[in-house]
Amino acid sequence: MRDRLRPWSWEILLALILVVSIVYNASRSDVYLTGDNFVNLFQLSIEKVIVALIMTFVIINGEIDLSVGSVMAFSAAVMATVSESGLWGVDVPFGVAIVIALLVSLVVGLIHGLVVVKTGIPSLVVTLAGLIGWRGAARVLVEDRSVGDFPQWFGELARDDLVGPLPFTLVLAIVGFAVGGVVLHRTAFGRSVFVIGNNAAVARYSGIDVARIKLRLLATSAFVAGFAGILFAARLGSVRGNIAETFELDIITMVLLGGISIFGGSGSLLGVALSIVIVLNLRNGLTLANVEGQVQTGVIGALLILSVLTRNVAERYLLRPRAASPLEPVPAARASP
């Protein structure tokens, strides 16, 4: 009942915001409605979009990963240093360096996941330590240098069009969201991600291997972040220790604005996809209107608060009968992060 109705009404609200912002932007600028502008708009944040996909899974599962920005930098730094100076004196081909960086990211994720699962320390805390630590590890590797000099195909990967006007990364994100949507909303695995997020104890009693799913998601999260870090390096053309700093906040904002509950257990990938388009669209529009980047972040922060606030107010005054269910805990009473 509510599971059907609520998320959809949320997505309709997002779609309305999107239409308004498109109409507004189109009225302000005549380059806005060109295909190139839309591709550009996505390409400039494509790494965040890819990480937001896995972050959606993690948050629905009732966990969070604050370390993604640092893991992006760490993975890119591993790739750059391995390709630059080799491993133990042996030169490493660039492709192998990428594979090594991806494996290292996976290990990072396994460490996060194992600590969370084995010790019961909240992922917020574990990945907070990761946020500090992996950023430090990236600095250890590249220090204050800028490591570049990548093969030509690597840079082209990020820039050149693959299908029609769409570059590789954008195609990847679209396919990723399609596959992710099916996995999350149409498979048993996806259901158990929701069930765990709703109530881990119930999930355990229904025979779901909670620890294993949490471990998998946190490991995948770091792996995807590492992958996104490599894509970011390809687009930038060089790696520094401070790349992707504070990306975690933008990514989490995209996910939460998409109607995913921070307490886990509810939301849909369609909502996140819509919210990403809204956020990028807004930034694009504000840039065209000459609003500074940091101030844009403030506007998006306000949108984030307002989106949840309006939903609460609407629920309270328009959908009042819903609150009658005695079994449902009141939202404010549930566990914070």
């Binding site: 805390v125 330590a129 500090i132 940091q294 009658a324 009141v330 566990a335 914070s336």
Partner: protein, 370 residues
């Protein structure tokens, strides 16, 4: 640690003791590595630099206890440091009390916005403060218009504040700012332990449903925690202004996560209901001590510092989790023989199911739907 004679240490005290032990070990480890480590100068250095993050850790703990989180602390520090700096620069004859008061007031106001949105708008704290983190910062950027406040503009009492000494023994100075941090810790520790308000904060964090059924003013309590944390962040903003003098729009960036790290290392549970202010201070001291010590070890270049810090924080929380689990097991096994013991009053257990009428008028409306 405690003799098995029934007089058990409370978990908070145990956590504080284990932190003290870790701090002691840290000092022992670094003493042979760093020249002049056990000197008054090093103490002065650490005790001055820890104050800002200690006050913020206390602020964060206040909110975390109620099962919320405040990610906007860094932005509040930035806004108060800048606005207060601008004010005292424009009015050099303003008294110190008024200057500090202004900072605290601004902080409390910003905290109040957070609190109203969380308590009355029922928006999750992480969403609200993630939003205000960005909003307060971008307001500051608009407001400052790329202007930086410099030390020369400030009245001399502000710039002298970090070096003001209350008492000294040889090399070792007891700095005013450190005393301020200690007072903040002691006052909060005492009020939350003794006042009804403080006990209620723990109650709503440890079991919100039970607290609601008991009729605690849930919303006002959450609001008060956010106002308190904002006010403390305002104080930290003033300390930041005094310490650095040069303030631009990035002031305090990243402090929100530092404060969470210090609070959590200090034993505050992100799930609410647990945490002490002495612990928050010790957590801040431990992190700052590690940071300051690593700077002085020549083998550790600045690039290694964060990597080691992250690993140490993780180790500290894992060690802490292990210790707590051991403590719980021990308590459970010791409690088993005495079956009919009265549960401690601190553990708010759900009262008789659904008292129809709440004795307190401010009772949360949600509960009445049930």
């Amino acid at each position: 640690m405690s003799a098995g004679s029934g007089r058990l240490l409370r978990p908070e005290r145990l956590k504080e003791l284990s932190l003290l032990a870790v701090i002691g070990v840290t000092i022992l480890v670094f003493t042979p590595l760093v020249d002049g480590y056990l000197s008054g100068r090093f103490f002065n250095r650490v005790s001055t630099s820890v104050t800002i993050i200690a006050v913020l850790a206390v602020a964060q703990t206040l909110v975390i206890i109620t099962r919320n989180i405040d990610l906007s602390l860094g932005s509040i520090v930035g806004v108060t440091a800048y606005v207060t700096g601008q004010f005292v620069a424009a009015h050099p004859d303003v008294t110190p009390v008024a200057g500090v008061g202004l900072a605290i007031l601004i902080g409390a106001g910003l905290g109040c916005i957070n609190g109203v949105l969380v308590a009355y708008g029922r928006v999750p704290a992480i969403v609200v403060t993630l939003g205000t983190l960005a909003i307060y910062r971008s307001w500051l950027i608009e407001y400052a218009n790329a202007r930086t406040i410099t030390t020369d503009e400030l009245p001399s009492w502000v710039a002298d504040l970090p070096r003001t000494t209350v008492a000294s023994w040889g090399d070792l100075d007891l700095r005013l700012v450190f005393v301020v941090a200690l007072i903040v810790v002691v006052v909060l520790q005492a009020t939350t332990a003794k006042l009804r308000w403080g006990r209620w904060l723990y109650a709503i964090g440890s079991n919100p449903d039970a607290a609601r059924q008991m009729g605690l003013p849930h919303r006002r309590l959450v609001l008060s925690a956010f106002v308190g944390s904002g006010a403390l962040a305002g104080l930290a903003g003033f300390l930041f202004l005094a310490r650095f003098g040069t303030i631009n729009v990035t002031a305090g960036q990243g402090f929100e996560l530092d404060s969470v790290a210090a609070a959590v290392v200090g034993g505050a549970s992100i799930l609410g209901g647990t945490g002490s202010f002495v612990g928050a201070l010790l957590g801040a001291v431990l992190i700052d001590l590690l940071d300051q010590s690593l700077v002085r070890v020549e083998a550790v270049t600045e690039f290694y510092r964060n990597a080691i810090l992250g690993a140490l924080i993780l180790l500290a929380v894992i060690g802490d989790a292990g210790l707590s689990a051991w403590f719980r097991r021990r308590r459970a096994s010791e409690a088993r023989p005495a079956v009919g013991t009265v549960p401690s009053p601190a553990e708010a257990t759900p009262a008789a199911p659904g008292p129809a009428a709440s004795p307190i008028p401010d009772h949360d409306e949600e509960a009445s739907h049930a």
